[in-house]
Structures are given as structure tokens and as C-alpha cells.
């Protein structure tokens, strides 16, 4: 994968500075809170926060973002493979808050991974396992509430990215599994390099994907493909993923970021309000199904088979833990 663009801090565009005041104020407060949760002091101008506290660029432990022209570029960089746990979630929340606050005036958002292995291996299973073990004395109801809280937070992030009033592009390579696949599915356009593989391996853990993946996938491709991926846990390569309509462009290894920048730049050539209206029309959010998915996930997590499977995964010294 190519190196990300050098980080630059650009002044906020005028339309952001003089946008609708009350909404901006509210959004700014939300952003500051989210930055605080991500461990960034929003009152201190520095490498992560612009002088006015807006966060024109951000550099965290799991992701960073910067502006390249009218494109907001987001880079995931948490080793070993961008697992989505509490650290990644907090920073994704900061990103979502920034997007809700106007994304610094950006007209397109591009997300990619700087990790060689791929986009993301999905949810942080070790953290989930430790969390369940650490609460073995807690009541099932208390655990369910906590899990539901995490799901509500990650769904809020995913829904914000999904419905962001600008064009979103995901450049993916390598492993695009589970939660990572779900994150990619929030994008309007997915550009994949030939190394990309997409999978929902959750059934081997006794679970279904919990970050909105199935409703979003079903929105985009035929239900036969959804069942194939969900019920077999097998992975699709980039060419096959393009064949079923999931991926927009397939490019050579290491070329996805460059191609995705082309898509994002193209998107910035259109009137922003036109894009917003077109996207709202073309990309409805499957709200009811997303809610049902959360309910089902919480219900399934309570079964002993899940902790057994997680323990097996965490304790495995197999060099192939990701093969079903």
C-alpha cells in the first residue's frame, strides 16, 4: 500500500466558519467530548487539535485523519490489524463527531489502512474475551446491558459514516474481516486491491456480525451472497466481490489508495448539496434491521458456546486461527 499523504493542517473553509451557528456549536461540543473520550485534550492546541479546537487533523492511537484538498483522509493504523475494541471505537467516535460537525468542510471522505496485513481483522476478540471473563460474576442482565451499550456506540459511528452527507470511499487490501468488513460496508464506494479478502467469520464464534454488517450487505448485494458469506464463513477475493456488486473497482496490489483518491477527488467536483440529496435518495439506512441485529447479537452472546469459542480462539497457538 502506498504511503498516506503527508499530514497538513489547512484552515477551516469559510462555509464551516460561518455555517449555521447553533448546529455548529452543538456539533463542536460533541466533537470535543468525543476527542476527550479518545484521550485527546480538546482544550490544548497541538498536533491533534487545531487552534480553534475543531480538530482539523487528528492523530490518535488507532487512526489519524488529515485534509488533502477537499478530501478528508482517514488512516487506520492500529497493530496488529486494526482490531475494533474500545481504543478504536473511541477514536472512530471522534471521527464520527468530526463528520457530524461538518468534516472540516470536506466534500469526500477516504478511509484506508496503513497496516500491511489489511483493512481490519474485525472486532477485538481478545478484549471481548477478557471482558466476558472479567465479568463472570456479573449478572447476565448487566453483561447484556454493557454489550448493548458498546453496540449502540459502534452502530452510532457506523450509521454516521454510512449517512455522512458527503461521498465516502474505502480503499481496502488484505484482510477485510468481520467488523472491518462492516466498516468498509459503510462506504459509498469500495476500491479493493487484488489482495483483499472479505469474510464474516462470526458463526465460528457462535455469533452473527454485530456492527451492522448483514443489513448493510443485504442492502447492497443479493441475499444469496449474504447467506453464502454468513453461513459458510468463507472469504471472497476482490474480483469475486466485484462480481457480486460489492466492490466498485479492483486494482493491482498496493494501488487501492491511489485509485480511491481518484474517486474521492472526482466526488469533490460536484456541488456538495447535490451530492447530499443524491446520496440520501440512493442510500437508505436499514434502521429496523440494524436494531434487530443488535438484539440478536446480545441474545446470542449470552450462550455458553460463545465464551467457549472465544477461549479457543484466544488460547490457540495455531498459525492459522483465521481459517474457519
Amino acid at each position: 500500500m502506498s504511503d498516506p499523504a503527508p499530514e497538513t493542517r489547512l484552515p477551516l473553509p469559510l462555509k464551516t466558519r460561518f455555517g449555521a451557528w447553533p448546529a455548529r456549536v452543538v456539533a463542536r461540543r460533541t466533537l470535543r467530548k468525543a476527542l476527550g473520550r479518545a484521550g485527546i485534550d480538546p482544550r490544548v492546541p497541538g498536533p491533534a487539535v487545531a487552534a480553534d479546537g475543531a480538530g482539523a487533523y487528528f492523530s490518535g492511537r488507532a487512526l489519524r485523519w488529515t485534509h488533502a484538498g477537499d478530501v478528508l483522509e482517514v488512516t487506520l493504523h492500529r497493530a496488529p490489524c486494526n482490531e475494533i475494541g474500545t481504543t478504536m471505537l473511541a477514536e472512530l467516535e471522534a471521527l464520527a463527531a468530526y463528520v457530524r460537525a461538518g468534516a472540516g468542510g470536506a466534500q469526500a471522505l477516504l478511509m484506508h489502512s496503513a497496516i500491511e496485513r489489511g483493512c481490519s481483522a474485525g472486532a477485538d476478540l481478545r478484549e471481548l474475551h477478557a471482558g466476558l471473563l472479567g465479568r463472570s460474576e456479573a449478572s447476565p442482565l448487566a453483561i447484556a446491558r454493557e454489550v448493548r451499550g458498546f453496540l449502540d456506540r459502534i452502530h452510532a459511528v457506523m450509521d454516521t459514516l454510512d449517512q455522512a452527507p458527503l461521498t465516502t470511499v474505502a480503499a481496502v487490501h488484505g484482510v477485510v474481516f468481520g467488523g472491518g468488513f462492516e466498516l468498509a460496508l459503510t462506504a459509498d464506494v469500495i476500491v479493493a486491491d487484488k489482495s483483499a479478502r472479505f469474510a464474516f467469520p462470526e458463526l465460528r464464534l457462535g455469533l452473527v456480525p454485530g456492527f451492522g454488517g448483514i443489513p448493510r450487505l443485504r442492502r447492497d448485494v443479493g441475499n444469496a451472497v449474504v447467506r453464502d458469506l454468513l453461513l459458510t464463513g468463507r472469504s471472497l477475493n476482490a474480483t469475486r466481490a466485484q462480481g457480486v456488486g460489492l466492490v466498485s473497482q479492483v486494482v493491482g496490489r498496493g494501488k487501492a489508495l491511489q485509485a480511491a483518491r481518484g474517486v474521492a477527488t472526482q466526488a469533490t467536483r460536484f456541488d456538495a448539496d447535490t451530492t447530499r440529496l443524491a446520496k440520501r435518495f440512493a442510500k437508505p439506512l436499514p434502521r429496523a434491521e440494524l436494531e434487530r441485529e443488535k438484539d440478536l447479537f446480545v441474545e446470542m452472546l449470552a450462550r455458553p458456546v460463545v465464551l467457549d469459542a472465544l477461549t479457543k480462539f484466544v488460547e490457540s497457538d495455531d498459525v492459522r486461527p483465521y481459517l474457519p
Binding site: C81, R117, G118, G174, V175, K194, S195, R197, A199, T232, G233, R234, S235, N237, A238, T239, R240, D318, V319, R320, P321, Y322, L323, P324
Partner: protein, 79 residues
């Protein structure tokens, strides 16, 4: 393509992907060990094979497959 030819082709592809000396790779060796690769890298090889032979290889068919000979068997069943 005979089994031996297929195995030779797999070894050549694996050697190219992981920059290994093909002379040091044998049909019945554990390729995870001989190539020093993990599951993520095995998926890269799987993608190479799918592209080279224009075929899909479901992950579950590779469960327990650790040698080039066994891999050739899985592939041959789909060609």
C-alpha cells in the same frame, strides 16, 4: 496437468510470493513451516492461486491442508 506439474506450479507461485528458493520447497513439507508464514500470508497464497487458475477455493476446504501435495489435491478437484 499432472499432479506433479500442479505441485511444481504451486511451489513456483509460493516461492515467488514469499521470496523463497523453490529448490528448498518439497511436495510433502509443511509449507507453513518451510515458508515461515502465518494464516494471513496463507490467504495471500490462496488469492494468488484463485487468480492464476481462475477458480474459487473456499477457506473451509483448506482446513488441515499443510502440504503442497494436499493443496494440489484441493485445487485439482476444482479445475
Amino acid at each position: 496437468m499432472t499432479e506433479d506439474q500442479l505441485i511444481a506450479k504451486l511451489i513456483a507461485l509460493a516461492a515467488t510470493r514469499f521470496k523463497a528458493d523453490p529448490a528448498g520447497l518439497e511436495a510433502d513439507q509443511d509449507f507453513f513451516a518451510s515458508l515461515g508464514i502465518d494464516s494471513f500470508q496463507a490467504m495471500e497464497l490462496m488469492t494468488d492461486l484463485e487468480e492464476e487458475f481462475d477458480v474459487e477455493i473456499p477457506d473451509y476446504e483448506l482446513q488441515g491442508v499443510t502440504t503442497f501435495r494436499a493443496l494440489a489435491g484441493v485445487l485439482a478437484a476444482r479445475l
